[in-house]
Amino acid sequence: MHIFEPLRPVARHLPRASKSARSIIAVLFGCATLAAAIPAQQSATTAPDIVFKNATVMTASHGTIEHGSVWVHAGKIAGVGATVNAPAGAVVVDATGLWLTPGIIDPHSHSALDNDVNEATSPVTPSMHMIDAFDNRDKALYQALAGGVTTELLLHGSANMIGGQAVVIKNKVGLDRDAMLFPNAPGSIKFASGENPKRVYGGRNQLPSTRMGNFEVMRQAFEDAKNYTATFDAYNAKVAKGDKDAIPPKRDLKLEALADVLRGKLYVQIHCYRADEFLTEEAIAHEYGYKIRAFHHALEMYKVAGKIAPEDTAIATFTDWWGFKDEAWDAIPWNAVMSMRKGVRVALKSDSNDHVRRLNQEAGKMVHYGGATEDEAIRMVTLNPAWIIGVDQQTGSIDVGKDADLVLWNKDPLSTYARAQKVYIDGDLFFDVSLPGLGTPHFSGVMHGDNEAGSDDEEDGQ
């Protein structure tokens, strides 16, 4: 159920669906079997308290504390500052000479899906759920964990204008599948635009083969969704009037999912490169009354950042990847910082099993390309991606009450030389470089996956 239920922030800035529509949807989802039950946090209550002492604490929300301490209680951050009031029995981690940051968060990943990234058989596939392909034993998760990554948004690929629904994971390598799902994370749906859909379907002589076709496919999908909702509204009205002969309309999973978009029940995450397409996407969102949570890739955001910032749409962008396709020809490595300076919330993302392992370095590049402060840079791989996913109230910074998702580094994490020493998720140790073998306290065995790249952008739908 949870992956369909938005947190309050979604509803706050999105048009509210009518009560009747909501009740119908609730009924519908009551029958749905797709949703996995997400268990409550495991093991946190019995774990001993932990105190990190004398660390350089990069909080991501309120600056860096030199020689700082962080206290972890019951899987949550219970204290942070120059000193903390941890109980005497707490396990002390001497972090002298080490850096402590929030767990790294990747808001754009296709890892651990065994290449089931694109259902590239139709340009509109909103009822696909990435959780159905999630392989929690994929080695990519472990390799990312060793790079300090604690949370990932696993997205559908970009072959389709409207792809499928994402799964949010906590990178608890070694636990079972359901224990790796992020509790109470809101649902996200992946949209795409530009070259990929038109290439995939144009290559088969189908609609869309142009950007005109791309956007028309989207509009038509929302028209269908509106009609679908209206049918249910009419049925609901009949039932409310006591019409016992009213026949319920046929359920359609695809249109249900689109209706969820229109009702603001899903965060919209759009693969989009070009400046003109950001504007078109925002216009369509206004036309149909949904909000765009983030543009992904967003390589030309620096051209129109001033226009997009008031929409409260974030970006999840590459740092310096460019030239791999026509719509990446105007990519510049200053995009992230320039867009940030114009008020856009900026996250860096991997879209790659490679880059996910060193997102901290990608953040470091922002100091170089545009002069981000270290605070701004670390936020691009922690708190800002958490916002894009919709879990910024739970994780993404070192603040009291948040999940104890923490990484201890041997060097400044924004330098080339940093290595994650220990990675904690919900206060539990999931990676420790000093351990022999894989360094994973919760895992010993055989991982899956020699499907390497983990990106959908080049080869999807081929």
């Binding site: 290559g203 396709k325 510049i332 320039m338 790659s352 490679d354 370095q361 330098s415 080339t416 030389y417």
Partner: protein, 486 residues
């Protein structure tokens, strides 16, 4: 309409707008076809590409002072002075111990770090512009596996936008190699990342033979799709290579015999160019460009760079290389942990990379990250390449070369070795060790000034000198940045 169909056919895999369409949109024109698009765009690109160091300014004497000098060859000099004149380094040393010539242009570099221009040991500069656009790619000729007569110099597009982008981060030289589909893919060039034209930028043609061995080169899907063709297995690849090398030996013997005959005046006189046989009934020697191209490599005169990943493949291809006495440089070796001692015993240099290649599912996360350190520990001379993980070389990422070296340091490679692996070692592997790769008197003045450690991602390169001339720190990307920062 017809032209649209054509464009779709030409770009079967990526049906998209022509490579340089954006330029036309900005210019308000419409491309008539690919060829006019390409030529006009080429002019535009040429305009954007930085002009070469002007001839007259090469004579200017420049003295950089106050910086930390990373010489690569003889340690670091704090508060050092470096003098460049006539394209060369003419003096280097501690402040006060170096005489700055009268009239020299002084560059105050206090707080800065100065180091030799970085050298990327494997790129496809000038062989690609936009990866997904076939029209901009001249990466490999996969119609046959044995293609030594493919000369990268013939395809090298000097005005590529990739070069200034890499140069902005301190890359001043590179090896350009064909892509890896063929067991023998062609012959590399060694370039300088600035120059008046192609000829000025190519410092060496056919400097090395690009070979590859492993799963990728098998023709399981034929050549360019379809049914399997020979060689579809490693057995096929090896036997084809061995036969080729034997053919070259045979070719050398016949050529030498023919040359001997040519030395006799009467034979030369009698030979008619188009005759199949001369008067004595001997065959006239006919040149074979493919076999001829391999001669310097079979004579061990130039290096053969062998791209190979797996340990067992390395053992197989090295056995063949030793059989024919090739002068080997191993490339990649990212899944070779079990044969590192053998690599050291063979005393062959190694280009390691990508350092970001993925470990196997059974391996620790840092199994590849630690390879440069493990090889260096065994006394192997290493270079580090800029490639990203899990795929072909992407020279769009060449600007990240120093960070790959820095990452090797994070995983145990001594700092000085890491810097060597992207400067002097590369120069030496490709025959430019006497000209490039370190801050030494007499070497080409390819010099970089940065505001900190060159291997750190946070460091900003402030100025690049190529042949002693400051290169404008401008690229198409900085122009876009500046245009939209107004």
């Amino acid at each position: 309409m017809k032209k649209q169909v054509l464009s779709i056919r030409l770009t079967t895999k990526y049906v998209g707008c022509p490579i340089l369409a954006p330029f036309f949109w900005r210019k308000g024109g419409k491309p008539q076809n690919y060829f006019s698009a390409g030529s006009i765009a080429a002019v535009f690109l040429a305009f954007l590409t930085l002009s070469a160091p002007a001839q007259d300014s090469t004579n200017k004497v420049i003295a950089i002072s106050g910086a930390r000098l990373l010489t690569v060859s003889h340690g670091a000099i704090e508060n050092g002075v470096l003098v460049m004149a006539n394209g060369k380094i003419t003096a280097i040393g501690e402040a006060g111990k170096v005489t700055i010539p009268k009239g020299a242009q002084l560059v105050d570099a206090h707080g800065m770090t100065v180091y030799p221009g970085l050298i990327d040991p494997e790129t496809n500069f000038g062989l690609t512009e936009i990866e997904s656009d076939q029209n901009s790619n001249d990466l490999a000729e996969p119609s046959d596996e044995i293609m030594p007569h493919m000369h990268v110099a013939d395809a090298f597009h000097a005005e590529t936008e990739l070069i200034p982008v890499a140069r902005l981060n301190g890359i001043t030289n590179a090896v350009v190699a064909p892509a890896s589909e063929d067991t023998i893919a062609g012959q590399d060039i060694f370039i300088q990342l600035a120059g008046a034209d192609r000829d000025a930028m190519i410092l060496g043609r056919d400097v090395a033979l690009a070979m590859n061995y492993g799963a990728e080169q098998r023709r399981r899907g034929g050549r360019g799709g379809g049914k399997a063709e020979f060689p579809s297995t490693r057995m096929g690849l090896i036997t084809q290579l061995r036969q080729t090398f034997l053919d070259v030996q045979d070719y050398i013997a016949h050529r030498d015999a023919a040359a001997k005959k040519d030395d006799k005046p009467d034979a030369a006189k009698d030979a008619k160019p188009d005759a199949k046989k001369d008067d004595k009934g001997d065959k006239i020697f006919k040149r074979d460009l493919k076999l001829e191209a391999l001669i310097p490599y079979l004579k061990g005169e130039r290096p053969v760079v062998i791209g190979v990943y797996e340990g067992y493949d390395i053992e197989t291809i090295m056995a063949l290389a030793q059989e024919f006495h090739l002068k080997v440089v191993l490339n990649h070796v990212t899944h070779s942990q079990e044969v590192l001692d053998k690599i050291a015993a063979w005393k062959v240099p190694v280009i390691v990379g990508s350092i970001y290649d993925f470990p196997r599912a059974s391996e620790r996360f840092d199994a590849v990250y630690t390879l440069p350190a493990e090889l260096a520990k065994r006394g192997v001379k290493i270079a580090i390449s800029s490639a990203d993980a899990g795929g072909p070389v992407s020279s769009h990422s060449s600007r990240n070369l120093p960070y790959a070296a820095g990452f090797a340091v994070a995983y145990g490679l001594p700092y000085d070795e890491a810097l060597k692996a992207i400067t002097l070692n590369v120069a030496e592997m490709f025959g430019f060790g006497d000209q490039l790769g370190s801050l030494d008197v007499g070497k080409t003045a390819n010099v970089v000034i940065a505001n900190g450690d060159p291997l750190d991602v946070r460091t900003d390169v402030k100025q690049v000198y190529i042949q002693g001339v400051p290169v404008p720190m401008v690229t198409r990307q900085t122009k876009l940045r500046d245009e939209y920062s107004k």
